[in-house]
Symmetry: C2
Subunit: 213 residues, 2 copies
DNA sequence: CTGCGCGGCATTGTATACAATCCCCATATC
DNA sequence: GATATGGGGATTGTATACAATGCCGCGCAG
C-alpha cells in the first residue's frame, strides 16, 4: 500500500512544516525563513515556497508581502470559534452517517470504539487522543460527503494546533459518549445522532474552557 | 504609488486563474499547462505554480503529480454535497447572528434586503444574484465567527463554480425568504433563524435539482 | 540627546536553466 | 491484427541565479 513517493518533494515539505506547526515546534508568531526551512529539509527554496502558499490558504501561516511567512497566532477567542464550526460540521456529519447507517465505515467505527473503550478502561489514556481523532474522522467519512470531509479536516487540523498551543487545556475526551453516537448511527436515527455529536463537541469545548482555571 | 505593482505577481496570477475557472472560461477537466498560463500572463512559471498550489487547496484544480493541473470536474452529486455543507454552515451562522442580534451588520443587512425586494418587485431579476450573495455574506459576517466565514467563503466559491457550469439550473432565488430570516435575527431568536436559514438553502437545492427536468 | 538619512546585510520575489518524467505514436514482433 | 517497445517531444519538478525590497544599525546634524 505504500505508494512510492515519486514526486513528493513539495508535499514532503508541506506535511513536515504543517506537522511542525501543529505539534508546536514552531511557535505562533515565529517567522519562517524560506532558506532555513529549505536547508533543514535538504531541498531548494521553491518547493518550500509552494508549501507556504498552501499553508496560507489552509490558515496556518500568515504571508506578508515582502516580509515572509510567520506562524499565525490563534487566540482563545478563535479557539471557541473553531469549536463552534466543528460542532456544526460534525453534527451534520453524524446526521448524514445515520442516514447511511454508517456505510462501509461501520465496521471500522466499531473496531475503533472497542479499542478505545478497552484502552480507557485499562487506563491507557495516552492512546486516546489518536483513537479519538480516528473515530471522528471515520464518522465524517461515513457521512459520504467528500466536501464535508475536506472542510472538516481543515478545521480539525486547526483544532490540533489549538491543543498543541494550550496543551494544559486538553481535557480527557469523554470517550463514553462515542458509543451512544455510534448507536444512533447504526440504528438510523439521524436527528439523535446529530444531537449527540453536537453535544459531544460542546462538552469538549466546555472542558477546554474549564482549563482556564 | 498605485501604479507600481510591488509584490503582487503571484496574487495576480491566482485571482486571474480562479476567475477564469469560476467564470467558465476554463472548462472542467481542461488541463492547465503552466507554461501557457505564464506566457498568457507575461510572467514566469514560478508564480503560476504557486497560484496553482493555492487553487488546489481551495478546491478548484486537481494536481496530479507529474501530470500537472486540471480544472476539477464537479458532478451533480458533488453539487448536492456542497449544498448540504452550506446548509450546515449557514444555519449555524444564522443562529450565531441571532444571538448577536445582527451585530454591526444589521444596518447593511436591512439595506440589502430592501434593495433586493425593490429589485424583485420591479422585475429586475438580473440584480438578484449579486444581492443574494451579499445578503448571505453579511449574514455570515454577522455571526462574528471569522473561521466560519473562512470555510463558508470556500464553499460559496465552489457553489458559484457549480452555478457557472450548470447555468441553466440556477433557479430564481426566493428572495422573500430573506425577510423572515432577518426578522428572526433581529428579534434574537437563534433557533428560528437557524431553521429558516437552513430551509432557505434546502429550497435553493431543490430548485437546483428541479432544473434537471 | 534625539531624530533622520544612508548604507549594508538578510530575505523575499522572479526568472532562467536543467533534469526527470510522462505521453503519444511509430515501428517491430509474434 | 494485436500487443509490446522504444524514442522523441512536451511538460513538470527542482535547483540555481539574480534582482528587488525591507530591516537594522551607525553616523551625523540639529
Amino acid at each position: 500500500m505504500a505508494v512510492t513517493v515519486r514526486h513528493a518533494l513539495f508535499e514532503t515539505a508541506l506535511d513536515k512544516i504543517r506537522a511542525d506547526i501543529v505539534s508546536g515546534r514552531y511557535k505562533p508568531g515565529q517567522r519562517l525563513v524560506e532558506d532555513r526551512l529549505a536547508q533543514e529539509l535538504g531541498i531548494s527554496r521553491n518547493p518550500v515556497r509552494e508549501a507556504l502558499k498552501a499553508l496560507e490558504v489552509e490558515g496556518f501561516v500568515e504571508l506578508n508581502p515582502g516580509r515572509g511567512a510567520s506562524v499565525v497566532a490563534i487566540s482563545l477567542d478563535e479557539a471557541d470559534e473553531i469549536f463552534v464550526v466543528r460542532e456544526s460540521l460534525e453534527s451534520t456529519a453524524a446526521r448524514l452517517a445515520a442516514k447511511n447507517l454508517g456505510g462501509s465505515q461501520l465496521g471500522e467505527l466499531e473496531a475503533v470504539l472497542k479499542r478505545g473503550t478497552k484502552a480507557a478502561n485499562a487506563g491507557r489514556i495516552k492512546e486516546l487522543p489518536d483513537l479519538n481523532t480516528e473515530f471522528h474522522r471515520l464518522l465524517v467519512i461515513a457521512s459520504g460527503n467528500s466536501n464535508l470531509l475536506k472542510v472538516w479536516t481543515m478545521i480539525r487540523d486547526k483544532m490540533e494546533f489549538v491543543y498543541s498551543i494550550h496543551v494544559e487545556r486538553r481535557g480527557l475526551s469523554s470517550w463514553g459518549e462515542h458509543a451512544a453516537i455510534l448507536e444512533a448511527v447504526k440504528t438510523g436515527d439521524p436527528e439523535l445522532a446529530a444531537l449527540l455529536a453536537g453535544r459531544h463537541i460542546s462538552n469538549a469545548q466546555a472542558a477546554f474552557s474549564a482549563g482556564a482555571d
